[in-house]
Subunit: 219 residues, 2 copies
């Protein structure tokens, strides 16, 4: 029996994109079900009653929530192709630690650079930049965060890049000048079809952010 794989996500969700990239790396066909996060489907609420968030991966009826957990699941189920986590336990712990850092420390400040104003925005900009510096430093002179091969930590981070035009514009950053290694890494990642076919155009994301800012009364 062929695998039945369904992904509940939203086209602009960087968390959903992680799962899309992982599935693409493994060459898995799946059905993408677009979720309207302002009017969540009964299927989303039923499959993720705890967090009520995308992405939700459904594989032969088995439900896997939380993007990093889903990426590990995909890596373990389809282990014969494109390994994402390294095999060495310390390197695995390293990848898990920094992937967790993205979610725990960078995501909210990054989001607040364009969803808040005044002091809250200023504090978020500072926090985001400090975290980004710390994270980018992990790249060093390696081609990928995991070393020589595209892997778990790259999958965890690259989706945030499509939000960078938004963060740079509203946060008034010039990230490209300050972080050339990061932008070289982005170019390398975008050479992979798994990434380039998944990440939406930054302009489309920017248009969505402009709309949301109007709805939030910021513009």
């Amino acid at each position: 029996m062929a695998d039945e794989v369904v992904l509940l996500s939203s086209w602009f969700s960087p968390f959903g994109m992680r799962v899309q990239i992982a599935l693409a790396e493994k060459g898995i066909n799946y059905e993408f079900k677009e979720e309207d996060l302002r009017n969540k489907s009964p299927l989303l609420l039923q499959t993720n009653p705890i967090h009520k968030k995308v992405p939700v991966l459904i594989h032969n009826g088995k439900i896997i929530c939380e993007s990093l957990i889903a990426v590990e699941y995909i890596d373990e189920v389809w282990s014969d192709k494109s390994p994402l986590l390294p095999s060495d336990p310390y390197q695995r712990a390293y990848a898990r630690f920094w992937a967790d850092f993205i979610d725990a420390k960078m995501y909210q400040p990054g989001r607040k650079t364009w969803t808040t104003k005044g002091d809250e925005q200023e504090a978020s900009k500072k926090e985001f930049l400090e975290c980004f510096k710390l994270f980018e430093k992990q790249l060093g002179d390696k081609p990928y965060f995991n070393g020589d091969n595209f892997g778990f930590l790259d999958v965890a981070f690259i989706p945030l890049h499509c939000w960078f035009q938004v963060i740079e514009t509203f946060g008034e950053f010039k990230l490209e000048e300050e972080f050339p290694k990061y932008f070289d890494w982005v170019k390398r990642c975008l050479q992979r079809e798994s990434v380039s076919n998944t990440l939406p155009d930054q302009k489309k994301i920017y248009a969505l952010a402009c709309l949301r800012r109007k709805q939030f009364g910021l513009d």
Copy 2:
């Protein structure tokens, strides 16, 4: 060369206890370095500059932070004995999801049942109880959260039990009457030396909480 294993933790840290239990399950000797969290050691600040928290595991000079990541690391390095994560990818994802739930949803409300008062305390009590109910339901009729064998999810949760007298007393709960399956599970876990030798006496934890409440101006 024998493994050199050092653990920086505090005797009352449920996160540190996870690592202690995992090491004990694997039969690994290690040096426990007690940290004063009100006056953190240079070694802690140097080994965990991001979070500045215990536990930190140092294995032959390699530094592993974040308790769940450290438990997975221990399980992968010493894989020949007492496997903690199940081998099935879905069961692994399940264990990771609920372990994350403990940290993301239960820990702070649990802590606030005894570190806050008034409306904040009432809201925390309600939230803790709802999360605890959801979590306890996962046990079902299984002897352990992972199934027939003591594993990752048990390691993640059992340390919180030594804080239950504090939570029950200040939160005015009677958990034992309402959750007999949970208390049967606790008894099963405490039959393991890895657990009984690690968990401090609830009375000692209670005395610490009373002292902290005085310091916080709550009593």
